[in-house]
């Protein structure tokens, strides 16, 4: 069973209960939002890297050569 530990701060009572449907749904939604944002961040990073590569190709330089030039 997937259980939640619930601590009542007024009484000190600790119970173990099953996750509610709402809690399961919230966790799944949070994971979906995270994965969506990660995919977008990865896409932007790949786009940036491709742009950099294209500029270097136009200049006829490698990334190492640019790094050496900029010292």
């Amino acid at each position: 069973m997937t259980k939640a530990i619930e601590i009542n701060c007024e009484t000190g009572q600790v119970i173990e209960r099953a996750l509610t449907a709402l809690e399961i749904e919230a966790n799944e939604a949070a994971a979906a939002v995270y994965l969506e944002q990660k995919a977008e961040a990865d896409r932007l990073a790949a786009e940036k890297a491709a742009t950099k590569e294209a500029v270097l190709a136009k200049l006829g330089l490698t990334a190492d050569e640019v790094a050496a030039l900029l010292g």
């Binding site: 997937t2 259980k3 939640a4 530990i5 619930e6 601590i7 009542n8 701060c9 007024e10 009484t11 000190g12 600790v14 173990e16 996750l19 709402l22 809690e23 919230a26 966790n27 799944e28 939604a29 949070a30 994971a31 939002v33 995270y34 944002q37």
Partner: protein, 170 residues
């Protein structure tokens, strides 16, 4: 000298793990709240969330993060959940390592929007370990009386701990 920092409740996850740790009926008699945790996730994700009063709405976050290779920063406006950073992941990160995090919520019982700050590190004897700072805003005016932390999926492993403190200003 007044007692300004009081342990309200603490829990250690037992055998079999737990899918959430839920502090309910938090008294409104303190000025601020502070939660200190040591967590490790069992499956799939390093991410951990925290919800206030079971709400999944009106959270805005600004964060800085480093993972040993890259640095990240960002703002999430009107987020559907409140990030509680990261924890080491079973099967991926070094065995028996946990995170170390502190969340501070000033004026949690006020009728204003609630700000918070989170400082966190994870332990991992490898190239990926997280250092994370976050400022949060919950744009609701209800007093906070419930804090729930959970991994995205699966369980916190055994021996994960969470302790909630109340702080009085005098």
């Amino acid at each position: 000298m007044p007692t300004t920092f009081t342990k309200i409740a603490a829990v250690t996850v037992g055998a079999g793990g737990a899918a959430s740790i839920d502090f309910t009926s938090i008294p409104s008699t303190y000025t601020d709240l502070c939660m200190k945790v040591s967590l490790r996730n069992a499956t799939s994700f390093r991410n951990v969330t925290i919800n206030f009063n079971n709400s999944s709405a009106n959270f805005t976050l600004r964060f800085l993060r480093g993972d040993g290779t890259n640095t990240f920063s960002g703002t999430y406006t009107d987020f559907g959940f409140n990030s509680f950073g990261y924890a080491p992941l079973d099967g991926t990160d070094t065995t028996n390592t946990f995170n170390n995090a502190e969340l501070y919520i000033p004026n949690y019982a006020s009728a204003n929007f609630k700000s918070s700050n989170l400082d966190l590190v994870t332990e991992n004897n490898g190239s990926t370990a997280q250092a994370y700072m976050q400022a949060g805003l919950w744009s609701q005016t209800t007093a906070i009386n419930r804090l729930t932390i959970a991994p995205f999926s699966g369980n916190f492993v055994q021996y994960s701990t969470a302790t909630l403190y109340g702080i009085k200003n005098s």
